[in-house]
């Protein structure tokens, strides 16, 4: 075992794990359903831009939507078939708003498109070339946040990376997709680690896994030993929610805190999920894009919880059918874990890249929410907050709509882990308050930005109108002068007088000049 000193983060919780149910069976490779729905928002950042038209045939692995902008991810067809629609479809998001999606009807052949060449000897490849490959493959963080991986792997030359961390903590209850992936495909994950290590050139690589996954730890240790990576270390960490939070894991393993409003790369650390590492290996070593993922199907309402590898875009109802269906009507469906997941209204949602778990909870696991009672200032929430915030203060100031004060209490450092709401004896939905406050502050900032733009545009318009007016006046004045000039020229009597005046003036000037010339010598004498 390693002698590395672990740094315990503040607060945290021991939660009922519910992990055994879905680890009894190995990962089941599901085929392809008749219809796949692929929303263009599979990631954080800009929506991908479709490259195919309705009616067009597509091959498995063909690029069907291009990353738009830097923080974005491409999308590939998970099977061969035909595009039957590009339209708004239901999307797993708390707003319930639909998102534009490409709908593919499978032809049942599952034929691959031409793929880029596999790079088993990636060590000889240029770093930018590998990053471009990972960007092409449309890989995003598979732990749930779905941030484009190629962006995270390119922190910039001014931020040298000292530590690369693979996150296998998987701290939320029920979820076991990383656990099963580590047990069954540890070599793949280590291969992905090698690729990332080649790109980032860190001094050390750390793999953090919670100690409630002994099989995964054993498998990963074996794969790591076989790989002969000397600067890499596997660390078993205590099981405590939310140790899988990026900042919490970094602190746990390195003792370094990521400063507020900074990224891990700012302190020389990059952290990736183990599933992401496996996807990177697929993309680089085999030249395959990200078109499927391992997802945990769990909860008491299922006949047999299990992990499955399913194509992106498969409907959640179809996934459940493939493993035997429901035992009873679920009392709550959640995309993600029970602490941070998104509640779903039904089954008609597609599997996304970031979808690590579908929960179908029974009445016992998801009792009806108790009504919130007034805060009694017990302070439990502050005791469990892993970021050492003061959840009560955030709550009170949010209720008072005092958004300046909420920010002074570091609202934006909240990771929305839900630990405070979990322990609250008054059942106050605290995280809802923080999310509301955050989006309210963002909306206000957006409004201010728009007001500034309007002010600038209005001022520019006023300036332009004033300039045009001034130019018009100048033109008019000139015209008037020219007109007056012309009038004097036209009148013969006036012209005669003017001419006489000019002659007299000319004579006078001539006389003055002669006198001046004559007077010059006298002037010279004067001073002496």
């Amino acid at each position: 075992m390693s002698a590395r000193k672990l740094h315990r983060f503040h607060g945290g919780l021991r939660l009922p794990e519910h992990k055994q149910e879905s680890t009894l069976l190995s990962i089941l490779d599901l085929g392809v359903p008749q219809r796949l729905v692929l929303p263009l928002r599979q990631h954080i950042g800009h929506l991908a831009e479709p490259l195919v038209d309705v009616g067009e045939p597509v091959a498995k692995g063909q690029l069907i939507a291009q990353a738009e902008g830097y923080v974005s991810a491409s999308l590939h067809a998970p099977t061969s078939g035909r595009v039957v629609a590009i339209e708004e479809r239901p999307y797993p998001h708390p707003s319930g708003l639909p998102v534009r999606a490409i709908v593919i009807e499978s032809d049942g052949l599952d034929e691959w498109a031409a793929l880029p060449e596999p790079l088993p000897h990636f060590e000889q490849c240029d770093r930018d070339f590998l990053l471009e490959r990972i960007r092409w493959a449309g890989i995003v963080g598979l732990g749930g946040a779905a941030f484009p991986t190629s962006v995270k792997l390119a922190p910039g030359a001014d931020k040298p990376i000292r530590t690369l961390i693979l996150n296998g903590a998987e701290c939320e209850p029920y979820i076991t997709c990383d656990d099963m992936l580590m047990r069954e495909q540890a070599e793949r994950i280590i291969a992905g680690l090698r690729v990332m290590r080649h790109i980032l050139t860190p001094r050390e690589c750390l793999i953090g896994i919670e100690d409630n996954k002994p099989e995964a730890i054993a498998a990963m240790r074996r794969a790591l030993d076989e790989s002969g990576l000397e600067d890499s270390e596997l660390i078993s960490i205590p099981t405590r929610y939310p140790s899988g939070g990026e900042r919490q894991l970094i602190y746990l393993l390195t003792g370094q805190e990521v400063p507020s409003q900074h990224l891990p790369a700012d302190i020389g650390v990059v952290c990736h999920n183990v599933g992401t590492a496996a996807a990177v290996a697929d993309a680089v070593i085999d030249g395959r894009p990200l078109i499927s993922r391992v997802v945990t199907l769990s909860g008491g309402a299922l006949k047999q919880p299990q992990n499955v590898r399913a194509p992106l875009g498969a409907s959640l109802g179809w996934l459940v059918e493939q493993i035997g269906g429901y035992r009873e009507e679920p009392s709550r469906r959640v995309m993600g874990g029970p602490m941070m997941g998104v509640p779903l209204a039904g089954d008609d949602y597609p599997l996304l890249k970031g979808g690590n778990c579908l929960l179908a909870l029974d009445a016992e696991q998801a009792p009806p929410e108790e009504p919130a009672r007034p805060c009694i200032r017990c302070g439990e929430c502050a005791r469990v907050c892993p970021v050492e915030l003061l959840p009560q203060q955030l709550y009170w100031y949010t209720r008072a709509r005092d958004f300046d004060e909420v920010q002074r209490f570091d609202l934006f450092d909240c990771i929305e882990c839900g630990a405070c709401a979990y322990v609250c004896p008054s059942h106050i939905p605290l995280v809802q308050y923080y999310r509301f406050a955050k989006s309210e502050i963002w909306a206000q900032e957006e409004e201010r930005r728009k007001a500034d733009l309007a002010r600038r545009r209005h001022e520019a318009r006023q300036a332009r109108l004033a300039r045009l007016e001034a130019e018009r006046k100048a033109r008019l004045r000139k015209k008037k002068e020219a007109l007056e000039q012309k009038q004097t020229d036209d009148d013969p009597k006036k012209a005669a007088i003017q001419a006489a005046l000019r002659r007299v003036q000319a004579k006078k000037a001539e006389r003055a000049r002669q006198q001046a010339q004559a007077g010059v010598p006298d002037d010279r004498k004067e001073p002496s």
């Binding site: 708003l97 308050y433 999310r435 309210e440 007001a451 309007a454 545009r457 209005h458 520019a460 006023q462």
Partner: protein
């Protein structure tokens, strides 16, 4: 006695010089309070307050010639912010200027009806309408403040104010329901 007077006179002269120097050296251009008021106003430039734009209204407030309750797009929020800034009592929105605007609207030109008269372009205070004489016009949605000034000049009534469709990028979390809490006291 004489020394005392002398000292006072010299001191007065010194301070006078100092103040005079400071007045020229550290002079602040413009009127900072007008800028602060202007920063709170929503910049729709709609003129509903009776002034030709947000800045003239801000200037009028600063001079004490206008009340702080004449901005319908800003509504209660802006009134409260202005009251806070200026130390005046908050007032309900002046009925004379219309009702507070609840939702955000933007102008939309029915392009097949547009005859290209440019009247709306001349009316737009923030140059958010694109077009030319006898060419179809269109509203740049991101830059439209929803002031409605382009609606009356249109001779063919092809401009309407529309609500922005909610999308994921602009959606925000609703406030938690507090009815139960209130009942509990």
């Amino acid at each position: 006695m004489l020394t005392a007077i002398l000292v006072m006179v010299v001191l007065a002269a010194l301070f006078g010089l100092l103040l005079g120097f400071a007045a020229t050296r550290f002079r602040v251009e413009g009127d900072p309070i007008v800028d602060q008021i202007d920063a709170l106003l929503p910049q729709t430039q709609c003129g509903q307050c009776g002034f030709p734009g947000c800045r003239p209204y801000a200037e009028a407030i600063a001079r004490g010639e206008a009340d702080i309750n004449r901005c319908p797009p800003g509504g209660e929020t802006v009134i409260l912010q202005l009251a806070d800034l200026l130390g005046r009592d908050p007032l309900p929105l002046d009925e004379e200027v219309g009702e507070a605007q609840q939702e955000k609207l933007v102008a939309y030109i029915e392009e097949k009806d547009c005859i290209g008269c440019t009247l709306c372009i001349q009316a737009c205070p923030v140059d958010a309408i694109l077009g030319a004489a006898k060419q179809m016009h269109t509203v740049i949605q991101d830059e439209c403040t929803g002031c409605k000034l382009c609606v009356p000049p249109c001779p063919v009534e092809c401009i309407t104010m529309v609500r922005l469709e909610p999308d994921l990028a602009h959606w925000h979390w609703p406030a938690p329901d507090e009815d139960a809490l209130r009942e509990a006291g």
